[in-house]
């Protein structure tokens, strides 16, 4: 376990370097000039000389590697710089936005699991047509209908026709309900199918029959063997979902005016806010890498016969 941890950490650091330097270089080559945004060129007069002065002040004339090393050295001091858009510290802005994203993404994910685990297990264990139809129906709706559309319909029902919930904003638990439910339906569809198929596969395996023959209770067979054995693929997808959610759920964030990291990044990219984009890439990559390391360690704990996704 220790060696695995060291190896994973080394890989993670390399990946972080690769991602941050790659994005740093790519950003500089993309069309778009943050100086024009800073100078509000759409509304305020600025001569070419004044534009060049600001460009020089921001260090854009320095070689790319020197700019990257300067940024990296500040990251080493936990200073991600200040946003071009607002002048506020990047770390503070990302912290606020991640908190908002985690509120809706976390709630959505929990609701999705609360819906998917019972429905997935029930449909895997039951032979009744109506149960399978329900599970398939929820999966199909969740997979086929975009979450923003679900959001609009839910808003129409529960915020306009029945004015129970707020249409928008981030004002307490009730304002999380609509975005979280909209998101959960889309996420649940994957887990229902995944859990059902994996459980059915596990329950059909020979060792389950042997366990029954040895007289183990159905509870023990289900929880200790079948359910546990079906979890690694679900966990892998769960980790992927977490990673993608950590990047923000931009459509829902815009629809419900929830100031998450997805919306923040769209604005940052449009305005070429380099410090904010770099900080986001660093933190999101770190989150995804950490999630992957945790997932591998948990998977190994659940299925010691698995090594890196394969069975020995």
């Amino acid at each position: 376990m220790g060696r695995l941890f060291v190896r994973q950490t080394g890989e993670a650091l390399f990946f972080l370097f690769f991602m941050t330097f790659g994005s740093f270089a790519l950003l500089r080559f993309l069309p778009g000039d943050p100086v024009l945004t800073l100078l509000n060129i759409d509304e305020l007069s600025a001569s070419p000389e004044q534009i060049e002065t600001v460009r020089r002040e921001l260090g854009f004339h320095e070689p790319l590697l020197a700019q990257y090393i300067d940024w990296l050295s500040r990251v080493g001091r936990l200073d991600l710089g200040e946003s071009f858009m607002t002048g506020r510290p990047v770390l503070l802005m990302l912290g606020e936005s991640y908190r908002a994203t985690f509120e809706i993404a976390g709630s959505g994910l929990v609701l999705a699991l609360l819906l998917a685990v019972p429905l997935g297990t029930w449909s895997a264990c039951s032979n009744r047509h109506v149960v399978r139809l329900t599970a398939d129906g929820v999966s199909l709706i969740g997979a086929a209908v975009p979450s923003f559309w679900i959001g609009l319909v839910l808003t129409d029902w529960f915020a306009i026709r029945l004015p129970w919930l707020p249409v928008m904003g981030r004002d307490g638990v009730l304002s999380i309900v609509l975005p979280a439910v909209s998101l959960s339906l889309a996420l649940a569809s994957i887990y229902i199918q995944l859990l059902r198929v994996n459980l059915q596969t596990e329950l059909a395996k020979e060792y389950i029959q042997i366990a029954r023959a040895r007289g183990l209770s159905e509870q023990t067979i289900f929880w200790k063997y079948a359910f546990r054995g079906s979890l690694p693929p679900v966990l892998a997808v769960f980790t992927l979902s977490l990673g993608s959610l950590a990047g923000g759920v931009v459509v829902l964030e815009v629809l419900f005016a929830y100031p998450g990291v997805g919306k923040l990044m769209v604005d940052a990219v449009l305005q070429r806010d380099y410090p904010l984009i770099q900080g986001y890439i660093l933190l999101t990559t770190a989150i995804i890498v950490a999630l992957n390391v945790i997932m591998r360690l948990v998977t190994q704990h659940l299925r010691p016969d698995w090594r890196g996704g394969g069975m020995r």
Binding site: D33, N40, L44, T86, L165, M168
Partner: protein, 507 residues
């Protein structure tokens, strides 16, 4: 098997009931207070720093004020925190401040506080630094003496800029709780979501009628419209255009007011076919502006006759000329129709038109123009770009561009005319280098007296029109929806600067 089924069913039912309870057990909002208004704005801001926020929320929310303001009816610069101003010399301005004004934290507004605030805005915002062009600020008793680096007649109008708002710079957390002099103070700010405002009872003008305001942000037009329909918002800025009829049918008021923005065709006059005046006139004649207003902007725009809306004192009244067709101009330029194409010396007339998606109307306008041009044998190739200022500034491989400009955002024509038509202008993407025009623009730069400036600006605008240096299409309107029987005192301003005011009230 029965065991799993029973367990699963029980869990499912529990979860379903729990979710239902969570989502439906209590009302969404508290009962509204008396004289409370909820306003939904179409841009979100992550910082309330009045000197940096490009959404101008502190000014729009009635938290901050500037030294001068734009009168929406006369479209002239009027006193606000400054009582009056005079020219001490070509480059020195004396600003006389209003008396007995205090910030929302009780600190007095004096010349020293204004100096500190202006200096901070210059420090924090490079755009403001360029726009104000200040060399030094001196406190002279109760007045301020401001020296500009060059002769700068636009100086006073540049102080309309919301990023020059006067704040107490010693207040803590300027980015979340700026302290201004406006009728409302910030009580809470949730970045990207909303600003809670409470009435400032020590306001120097008439005390605000509203006690509190929720200034919400939502960038989705559909969601803003739903907020109004559900009664969770009182006033909504830019509701969904498609829902306007529905809102009107419900008895709500939807106001459409033309803005200072102009959608135009920027023409590359430095190379290619657009160097020829008749070709430029042909393109201008080709545009069916009424069609663009009706079908692209769905009626929420006014036809542009020049860069400025007609209510500006410097906007020329263009004489109606005999309408010539695009084809007649092209014939004058030496083009003839051969094999369905306009050709000159065997070369078909093919133009490259730039457009960009940041303003969704513009690509549609480009398509309409492409279709209209095809009908008279002119080929227009549309090229999608990301950042128009950057592309047009660094490439010359284009002939036309759909572009949108704020032409007189602070009530003076100088910014737009100089930036767009002077060889040194930051927005001179056309490559205009016309000695006669440059001379007039330089003269405008030295003319201080407002009436003389207006006359000169009008002459320049006429010359731009005569030389067809760009083609002006339309002025898009701003839409605001609210219930007139409930909200009183709302005014949709052309400048879009002043929204939450001390005159607003609810019934």
């Amino acid at each position: 098997m029965f065991t799993y089924k029973k367990w699963s069913r029980q869990t499912f039912v529990t979860v379903a009931i729990g979710t239902a309870l969570l989502s439906g057990c209590s009302p969404a909002t508290d009962s509204p207070k008396d004289q409370h208004l909820t306003f939904v704005y179409n841009f979100a801001t992550l910082s309330l720093d009045p000197h940096r926020d490009s959404s101008y929320v502190p000014l729009r929310a009635g938290v901050t004020e500037t030294l001068v303001r734009l009168d929406d009816d006369k479209l002239t610069v009027e006193p606000w925190l400054a009582k009056s101003w005079t020219n001490e010399s070509q480059t020195v301005w004396r600003i006389v401040l209003q008396e007995d004004i205090q910030f929302q934290n009780g600190e007095p507004l004096d010349a020293a506080a204004v100096k500190a605030s202006l200096e901070r805005s210059i420090r924090e915002n490079a755009g403001v630094k360029n726009a104000l062009n200040i060399k030094s600020i001196t406190v002279d008793g109760a007045d301020l003496l401001i020296e500009t680096q060059t002769v700068y007649p636009e100086f006073i109008s540049e102080l309309v800029n919301p990023n020059t708002a006067i704040i107490d710079i010693d207040a803590k957390r300027i980015d979340t709780q700026p302290v201004g002099t406006g009728p409302f103070a910030v009580s809470n700010f949730s970045p990207g979501t909303k600003v809670d405002l409470t009435r400032f009872d020590g306001y120097w003008g008439e005390r605000a009628k509203l006690e509190s305001v929720d200034f919400l942000f939502n960038e989705d037009a559909g969601a803003r419209t739903m907020a109004l329909q559900s009664g969770q918002a009182d006033v909504v800025y830019r509701p969904e255009v498609e829902s306007v009829d529905q809102l009107k049918n419900k008895g709500l008021t939807v106001e459409a007011v033309e803005t200072f923005r102009v959608h135009q065709l920027t023409m590359n006059v430095s190379n290619g076919p657009m160097q020829s005046l008749p070709v430029r006139q042909a393109i201008d004649a080709l545009v069916d502006r009424d069609e663009l207003v009706d079908h692209v902007l769905q009626g929420y725009a006014t036809v542009a006759t020049g860069p400025f809306i007609q209510s500006f004192p410097f906007a020329p009244t263009y004489e109606k000329q005999t309408q010539r067709t695009a084809v007649s101009y092209l014939k004058q330029a030496g083009y003839t129709l051969q094999d369905g194409q306009m050709q000159k010396n065997g070369q078909p007339l093919t133009l490259t038109l730039l457009t960009y998606s940041a303003r969704p109307d513009l690509p549609l306008i480009a398509q309409v123009l492409q279709d209209d041009a095809k009908k008279i044998g002119v080929t227009i190739k549309i090229k999608q770009i990301d950042v128009p200022e950057e592309y047009m500034g660094s490439h010359r491989d284009w002939d036309l561009a759909t572009y949108s400009n704020l032409t007189a955002p602070r009530g003076d024509a100088g910014y737009y005319l100089h930036a767009t038509y002077h060889p040194q202008g930051g927005l001179n993407f056309s490559g205009v280098n016309d000695p006669s025009l440059t001379r007039q623009l330089d003269r405008l730069k030295r003319t201080v007296k407002p009436t003389e400036r207006n006359v000169l600006a009008e002459q320049i605008a006429r010359e731009v029109d005569a030389k067809q240096l760009n083609s002006f299409l339309l002025h898009p309107s701003t839409l605001v929806a609210y219930d007139k029987t409930h909200v009183k005192g709302w005014k949709t301003e052309k400048s879009e600067y002043y929204m939450i005011t001390n005159q607003l009230e609810v019934r």
